[in-house]
Symmetry: C2
Subunit: 328 residues, 2 copies
């Protein structure tokens, strides 16, 4: 994708900085798991957008690198701990830290990774530090709230769509939003613009997550890189699932429940097929796409109001569209 | 104990601030465990010493309250996560968070508690913030290293006393040291004095931990509030245990190993008696007291060199002596 943005260069820079991040060698069981987890890769989306936001708002890229790394390290810390709580065996097709080592090591190396994030945050303009730290703390707390809400919803019989949207906003979007705002703050942008970029990131993040939900079921397996229906098999709350339950009449609700209750591995294919068929019958996909568009529209409206060169806005617009229509 | 210090007032202030710390009400399972854990109590030693150090170095007590809370919240965060890793059912005779709720909740509420600590750190002089944050991060990382080292040593056949001292320095002392240094930094003290106070705290912390080891076995149960020998029953590495193995001849080593191998609950009393008898035979207590004095002496030497009113030094001296001779 060709835009006025330099996201590919930022991603490469973040990756290079992560690769050369100096970790002590001892205690090995504290630092090795961190290196292992960082090497599993990732889109590096948040740090790249932080850097882009800083540059577009007239800031110095060098001053954004530390906070960009902070955001990426923090994101990895949350994934590392979430994997323990979710008892996930795999992350990017590799063993999770608690599986490869053990839970104690995963808890503690996660904690240390969190500290490394705060260490990186310091590498910026000292004048920007109090505001950055306040935003970073608030965001970190909200991400914890999102994860708790996710666990709360997972154990509930009926989940409201509003609660689901609140959960993904906290668990996923606020960090994207904060990344964009942090870039603006480092650039010394005014608060109105910084807040608009926050709103852009928050709504974009929700649309991004909804596309994630769509891809899991309707993605092209060849492009998506995994078999469809993982969220269905794990009975995960997604926008599609909740919308389906909202629209279903009593008979269809029972069909959905029966399909989701198929839990033996021999019934996996049948389960995905049954649930997908019901989703199609209920027209859930189109409604989910519409919900995604609603959040994207809000994101783009916020972006329009930012005081920023038109070429930058146009680049961010294209990139936002690309993200929420992505196929993997 | 009557000194020129105001530690009791500082402790009361920290406690009052903790009591009125505004935690969101939702998600309840994120914030309730934090309130529960903070309400279990504690000596509030570190924050009180941070405040005292600030005042003695000529600083403003008000500017020390936030960082003092940060240190106390961080300390509680480490205890909360350590309890999961140690599979400890009780903390201060009450259920630990992972026992009362579950491990996922304990991991996540611990993470949130860590963020609350960083939030409090912001409530101080902005000019002091970069240095405070740098020290706080470094200390947090070292405490993680200490906990990993503790787990490493717990699974080792033979533990060197030097490694044990390194472990308790990281796990216990650096936070006491950092508390004293942070108080000095908030007061705007020069680096030489701040570093001397750090050394005072670090050596005092080691002496404090060694006294902990002594009290577990030789403490007066009525004053100590628990039955002696808890560390023996859990086969914990302590200075006394490692010194005993260092001094023992082959026959005594085998006796020690046999005693430590008694693991059924019906043999608990016998185990404690046998190990204690061997400790007495080997003269371990006196050597442990001597080691404690060595660290106290180093602490007091550092204190002597600090540029601070003599009444303050005298108060800290008395308090240090009180801490390492305490009976509970």
């Amino acid at each position: 994708m060709q835009t006025a943005l330099n996201l590919q260069a930022h991603i490469a820079l973040v990756q290079a900085e992560l690769d050369r991040l100096a970790l002590p060698s001892s205690p090995a069981l504290l630092y090795e798991p961190i290196r292992y987890f960082l090497n599993l890769g990732g889109k590096r989306l948040r740090p790249a957008l932080l850097m882009e936001s800083c540059v577009l708002m007239g800031g110095n890229l060098q001053e954004a690198i530390g906070p960009a790394l902070a955001v990426e390290l923090f994101h990895n810390f949350t994934l590392l701990h979430d994997d323990i709580m979710d008892e996930a065996p795999l992350r990017r097709n590799q063993a999770t830290v608690h599986t490869r080592y053990n839970s104690s090591i995963a808890i503690l190396s996660g904690d240390a990774l969190f500290v490394l994030a705060y260490q990186q945050l310091l590498h910026t303009r000292p004048q920007a530090l109090p505001e950055l730290l306040t935003l970073f703390n608030q965001t970190a707390l909200e991400v914890c709230e999102g994860q708790q809400l996710d666990m709360d919803l997972a154990s509930m019989e009926e989940v409201k769509i509003d609660d689901y949207l609140k959960m993904i906003a906290l668990k996923t979007s606020v960090l994207l939003a904060a990344s964009l705002k942090m870039g603006a703050l480092i650039a010394g942008a005014n608060h109105a613009d910084a807040d608009l970029l926050y709103r852009f990131g928050k709504s974009l993040g929700i649309a991004f997550q909804i596309q994630d939900d769509i891809l899991d079921i309707f993605g092209d397996p060849e492009k998506f890189g995994k078999q469809p229906g993982g969220d269905i098999l794990s009975n995960k709350n997604t926008f599609l699932k909740l919308k389906a339950f909202e629209l279903a009449d009593e008979a269809q609700k029972n069909e959905l429940k029966a399909a989701y209750a198929l839990n033996s591995s021999s019934q996996a294919q049948e389960k995905v097929e049954q649930v997908t068929r019901l989703f199609e019958k209920l027209g859930v996909k189109a409604l989910t796409e519409a919900e995604k568009e609603r959040h994207l529209t809000d994101a783009l409206q916020a972006l329009d109001a930012v005081n920023m060169p038109e070429s930058g806005k146009s680049g961010l617009r294209q990139y936002a569209r690309f993200l929420v229509d992505r196929e993997h």
